[in-house]
Symmetry: C2
Subunit: 180 residues, 2 copies
């Protein structure tokens, strides 16, 4: 994994891919599959909708740390598998053949097999709407990885794979954040 300029990390989440969120409660690692995320700021700050209905939520609130890992289409069955069992009774790293890598800034593990990983700290929890606010503190990508297409949940059990990429950099001009 190669360190990514932190100011470019928002782009990993901007397009709305399904992400894996890794936590550690100090004793055990866990992973959840999350589709409900958005960028809040280029710094980057992220919002994520989660709550007590996710087993990982307790560890997230206790440690106020997590890793957002970006899986690609070749990992779809793992992503769905992780989203349909619970860390309460499953060691998901073992069950899905994933490798935890120690974070530099947080105790939550990075996921080696993912295309990208973002170490995050919980800066706030907006209880009224169950929105967790995350500040990224470090980001990494795996430049050797050939498969970079992410997946987007539709919400009905189907998933859209990244297709073509269209370039509108000239049109965007000054609207492209200076950090990218």
């Amino acid at each position: 994994m190669r360190k990514l300029k932190l100011s470019r990390a928002f782009a990993l989440v901007e397009s709305g891919p399904v992400v894996l969120v890794a936590t550690s409660d100090g004793d055990r690692n866990n992973i959840m599959t999350i589709s409900w995320t958005m960028v809040l700021d280029f710094t980057p700050t992220f919002a994520m909708a989660t709550g007590e209905w996710n087993y990982s939520f307790a560890a997230l609130m206790k440690t106020r740390e997590c890793v957002i890992a970006i899986p690609t289409v070749d990992m779809l069955d793992k992503v769905v598998g992780i989203g349909t069992c619970s860390g309460k009774d499953t060691d998901k790293f073992a069950a899905f053949g994933l490798t935890p890598v120690p974070g530099k800034h947080v105790d939550a593990p990075l996921i080696k097999e993912c295309y990208a990983n973002i170490e995050c700290r919980v800066s706030d929890f907006v209880k009224k709407h169950s929105i967790v606010v995350l500040d990224a503190v470090a980001a990494y990508t795996d430049p050797a990885r050939k498969e970079k297409r992410t997946i987007h949940a539709v919400g009905d059990g189907t998933f859209i794979v990244d297709g073509r990429r269209l370039d509108r950099r000239k049109m965007m001009g000054s609207k492209i954040p200076s950090c990218v």
Copy 2:
């Protein structure tokens, strides 16, 4: 446009497409391009990150209404154009050849040329994080439309087009919300 069951409308935003947000300040219609959205609940409730840096924000806060319209890839140049000029000095419906259609529940206009439209009411504004919380009150799609591929902003002036759709409904099983 055909009415869509409201409980299925979350799926229009779940995959993270770039959306157009239409408002009316009572006098003039306006549109902004937004990539920072997420689903908060299946009802559906949406979160959208915006603030005073968007000209539409004043109308949004004043009327507490908007329409989330879902454009498709054939509309990319309009979407980028809308995102790179301001309603302060541009009538965006006229400038981009779009047709406002009166909403049934809100005074903000639907955008006829879009694949889908969701009439929304602002239920809250989380000032600390500039998050607008929206409750959908009606949703529509255009079933006659052939092009249904949405676009996902990467944040660097490039856009990912929807590619293949993969079906994991069997694997998802009970995790698919009963509403879809």
